[in-house]
């Protein structure tokens, strides 16, 4: 199983995409719309020509600026699954799958549970089925590199989770170097060994999901992983804590060092709710109106002023939190991280 | 409507005249409006209600037909003409006599048989019984004589049958080959006032001026032949529908 080694610059409309990447297992690229995620895949697949750098799968070189080498898409052993799947509407499912590799079509149809759809047209399929066909088509070519562009985004909420699980299994089975693009951190966390966060064409952080949650490199990464982000100005204090004066006026303390404009990162499940504010500086508390209360199973997500807390249903009931009411959200200074604000 | 006929009355007459008269008429009387073309086309337009005041045809039969239909007043003959062959100055096909037209591959341009000059062309060939030999070389049937002339002048065609008067209008560009007099068909021009014309008087006046000294002189100046018998006696209408 050859690794992908890519390091290139691709000029885009409004900015340059600059990327250095080594892929042996599954890497997820996350980032806001327009960040350049799809462009990365385009460059790797040979659909766009970088201005600089080198792309190689193992010792099979696909692109090398110095050597003026650029292999056409059809000369690269790559399987690309498009954002909207790009199935050929004029071909049956079978002929779609057979398009790339005629060899073991039926096998693949079976493997992806689309045998019964073989003769139907892609336009008649559900989102999940379409995605399976697209995957089968891409893999039937037996590529050395698999690229998935938002494989789940065009599925609706409740097929999504099941399809995600299927995909997870498949990726494990094929064990190809894989890059998958997504908007959604949960998908990334579920499917990938490493997650790369791209913003404005640059890789902000590349690390395992847990790592991103534990040590987000910057505000964007933090909020992307679902953390609360409180903006403020930091200054060192006598004791080992950093004091951050928030835009909203309150002061909170963090065990992290920091200076100037910073974001205080705290995850909802690290926030507890109460009636009384604390005085202990090791325990931050923010008083605010309850702006929303959402029950998710046994947990309740409560938005208090600028911050969201995730508490157990029981404690929520005990406190009788409800829209409009006032409560105190508390979180440990040690439970927070400070990220610089650009 | 009538208003715009009025305006035309002020603006002078509208004369529908054979293409071969393109140069002489405006030179003789530049105050009128002229529409030149194949006499048959003009006749057709008049039949379809074209607001002409005077119709001047390169033959006598067309005015006669319109007269028969009551579309024009009694026609009068006003001049004559002769048929010639024109070849481009370069003369690519090396045409020197009418007989050369029979050489295979010569591009001979003629006018549509419904156009007067077209009819005359067929007639003259028949008179010299060259029809069988030459007609296979016909490459096109133009809608009026000037189109034949243009195609030859351009060198598109190797030769073409036109009136001697037309040949004179593009001296630099074509060489004229005369046709024997004995073979010449009787080419007589006739004109008539259009019945529906709101300017009967002015129209009559125009016709008379053409028949008059100045008019005849102008025609001769442009190479037309004076009428055999000066008196322009009416011809009796020929009742036949031009149909092939």
């Amino acid at each position: 199983m050859a690794d992908l080694a890519a390091d290139f610059t691709l000029p885009l409309r409004s900015f340059e995409l600059e990327l250095g990447l080594r892929v042996d297992r599954t890497v997820a690229l996350v980032g806001p719309s327009g960040a350049g995620k799809s462009s990365v895949l385009r460059a790797l697949a040979g659909l766009a020509r970088p201005s600089r750098g080198r792309i190689a799968l193992g010792d099979d070189v696909w692109f090398d600026a110095e050597r003026r080498l650029f292999r056409q898409p059809d000369e690269r052993s790559v399987g690309l699954v498009f954002q909207e799947y790009a199935l050929f509407p004029h071909l049956s499912v079978r002929r779609n799958v057979a398009y790339g590799g005629r060899a073991r079509v039926d096998e693949y149809l079976e493997r992806f549970h689309i045998g019964h759809l073989a003769e139907s047209s892609p336009t008649e399929l559900s989102g999940g089925e379409r995605q399976r066909v697209a995957l089968a088509r891409a893999l039937a070519r037996e590529p050395g590199l698999l690229l998935l562009d938002e494989p789940l985004s065009s599925l609706d909420a409740h097929t999504r989770t099941t399809v995600r699980a299927e995909l997870q299994e498949l990726l494990r089975e094929f064990a190809l170097p894989t890059i998958l693009v997504t908007h959604d951190f949960d998908d990334a966390a579920a499917l990938a060994d490493e997650v790369g966060v791209i913003v404005q064409g640059t890789l902000r952080q590349l690390a395992p999901p847990q790592e991103l949650v534990a040590r987000p490199a910057d505000a964007f990464v933090a909020s992307f992983t679902g953390a609360n982000l409180l903006r403020g100005v930091a200054r060192r204090t006598a004791d080992a804590l950093t004091e951050v004066r928030l835009e909203t006026g309150e002061a909170v303390f963090s065990a992290d060092p920091g200076e100037g404009a910073v974001g205080v990162v705290v995850y909802p499940w690290e926030v507890t709710l109460g009636r009384e504010p604390h005085t202990d500086s090791a325990l931050n508390s923010i008083v605010g109106d309850v702006r929303s209360v959402v029950t998710v199973g046994t947990r309740v997500r409560v938005q208090v002023g600028p911050i969201t807390a995730e508490v157990t249903a029981s404690s929520a009931e005990r406190l009788e939190v409800e829209r409009g009411g006032r409560v105190v959200a508390s979180f440990k200074a040690t439970g927070t991280r400070l990220v610089p604000l650009g | 409507g009538t208003t715009d006929r009025q305006s035309r009355a002020d603006a002078g007459l509208t004369v529908y005249a054979a293409a071969s008269l393109t140069d002489v008429f405006p030179a003789f009387d530049k105050d009128e409006k002229y529409s030149f073309g194949g006499s048959n086309a003009l006749a057709a337009q008049i039949t379809n209600g074209a607001p002409a005041d005077v119709f001047a045809s390169a033959n006598t039969s067309l005015p006669a037909q319109l007269y028969a239909k009551g579309l024009v007043e009694k026609p009068v003959n006003f001049t004559r003409n002769t048929l010639v062959i024109v070849v481009p100055k370069s003369n690519p096909a090396g045409i020197h006599t009418v007989y050369d037209l029979a050489k295979p591959g010569v591009k001979v341009d003629v006018a549509n048989s419904a156009v007067p000059v077209g009819g005359y062309t067929l007639q003259i060939l028949k008179n010299m019984n060259l029809t069988a030999k030459v007609s296979p070389n016909f490459v096109s049937q133009e809608t009026d004589v000037r189109e034949v002339l243009a195609k030859v002048a351009l060198g598109q065609a190797d030769a073409g049958f036109v009136y001697s008067t037309d040949a004179q209008t593009v001296p630099g560009q074509v060489t004229v080959i005369k046709m024997p007099a004995w073979a010449q068909p009787k080419i007589t021009y006739a004109m008539a006032v259009v019945t529906k014309s709101p300017n009967q008087a002015a129209a009559k006046a125009f016709v008379d001026s053409i028949l008059g000294k100045a008019g005849q002189a102008a025609l001769v100046k442009y190479g037309f032949l004076p009428l055999a018998k000066p008196a322009a006696k009416p011809i009796k209408p020929i009742k036949k529908k031009a149909k092939k």
């Binding site: 409309r13 799809s38 462009s39 385009r42 659909l47 766009a48 020509r49 | 409507g1 009538t2 715009d4 006929r5 035309r8 509208t14 293409a19 393109t22 409006k33 002229y34 529409s35 030149f36 073309g37 337009q45 039949t47 379809n48 209600g49 074209a50 607001p51 009026d144 000037r146 189109e147 002339l149 243009a150 002048a153 351009l154």
Partner: protein, 275 residues
């Protein structure tokens, strides 16, 4: 080498096609020096024809816009049986030989035509005068506008219309405040095309309106007339034509280009390199 081959073929075909289409137009400018060309333009035949063409085209265009726009809107926004028949009817004149159009107009509006007597009674004569020219031009040119307008109105996002309605605007206000502004580009395109086409109208005019200098002899008819009389003048007018129409179309293209360049990128893979 297979690859190189197909690329070569592709470019060869293109070169041939474009060459074939461009050469005749280019040739028009080779016969005379630009100076002579310009000089020729002062020829009364040309000026008369130009004036007439401008006037008649303007009138025809006005009629087309005034009547064509509502028609297109109706056809585009309503689903009704036989709709595609109507659209076809609208497109017919687009592909019919002008000669047919001319004959049709004659038998319909000419003196001996269906409505001829009616018109006579009304004291209107629509054959062989300016009116005739306008009708002929409108007949052959309007389809181009109608087609473009229908397409434009069909492309209009119905949600925007719906939004306007739910925001309390009646159909009329909705049309003028939403439908029209958002389709203006498409309509302009259609108008430009039909204008160009109308300016070039020949066959129908010569048959229905005749060719009388200053009255019914538009530019194309002048070309035809001068072809028999003075070839150079004919060439001049032709060249003039190429310039005019090219200007119209090009300005159209550029404005369109300009507009799209303002919008966001069309699809991502647009730039895919082929060879």
């Amino acid at each position: 080498m297979r690859k190189a081959l197909h690329v070569v073929g592709l470019f060869a075909a293109t070169a041939l096609t474009l060459g074939f289409l461009v050469l005749p137009l280019a040739a028009l400018f080779t016969r005379q020096s630009p100076v002579e060309l310009v000089h020729q333009l002062s020829n009364p035949v040309v000026t008369d024809a130009l004036k007439l063409s401008v006037v008649t085209s303007a009138i025809a265009q006005a009629l087309i816009l005034l009547l064509g726009t509502p028609t297109a809107y109706l056809v585009a926004t309503r689903r009704f049986p036989g709709r595609s028949l109507v659209v076809t009817l609208v497109e017919l004149p687009l592909v019919l030989p002008p000669a047919v159009a001319g004959i049709g107009l004659l038998v319909a509006f000419g003196r001996v035509g269906l409505l001829g007597s009616t018109f006579d009674a009304l004291g209107i004569s629509v054959a062989f005068n300016r009116t005739a020219v306008v009708l002929a031009v409108a007949f052959v040119a309007s389809p181009l506008y109608l087609r473009a307008a229908i397409a434009a109105f069909e492309a209009l996002d119905p949600n925007l219309v719906a939004a306007s309605r739910t925001l309390g605007a009646g159909p009329v206000r909705t049309f003028f405040r939403v439908a029209l502004p958002l389709t203006s580009a498409g309509l302009a395109a259609g108008a430009a095309l039909s204008l160009a086409r109308g300016l070039g109208e020949f066959g129908a005019t010569i048959m229905f309106a005749g060719s009388l200098q200053g009255v019914t002899q538009t530019l194309p008819l002048a070309i035809y007339a001068e072809f028999d009389r003075d070839f150079d003048v004919a060439v001049t007018i032709s060249a003039l034509f190429v310039v005019i129409t090219a200007a119209i179309l090009l300005s159209l293209k550029l404005s369109a280009l300009w507009r799209t360049s303002q919008r966001t990128s069309r699809s991502l893979f647009a730039r895919l390199s082929w060879s």
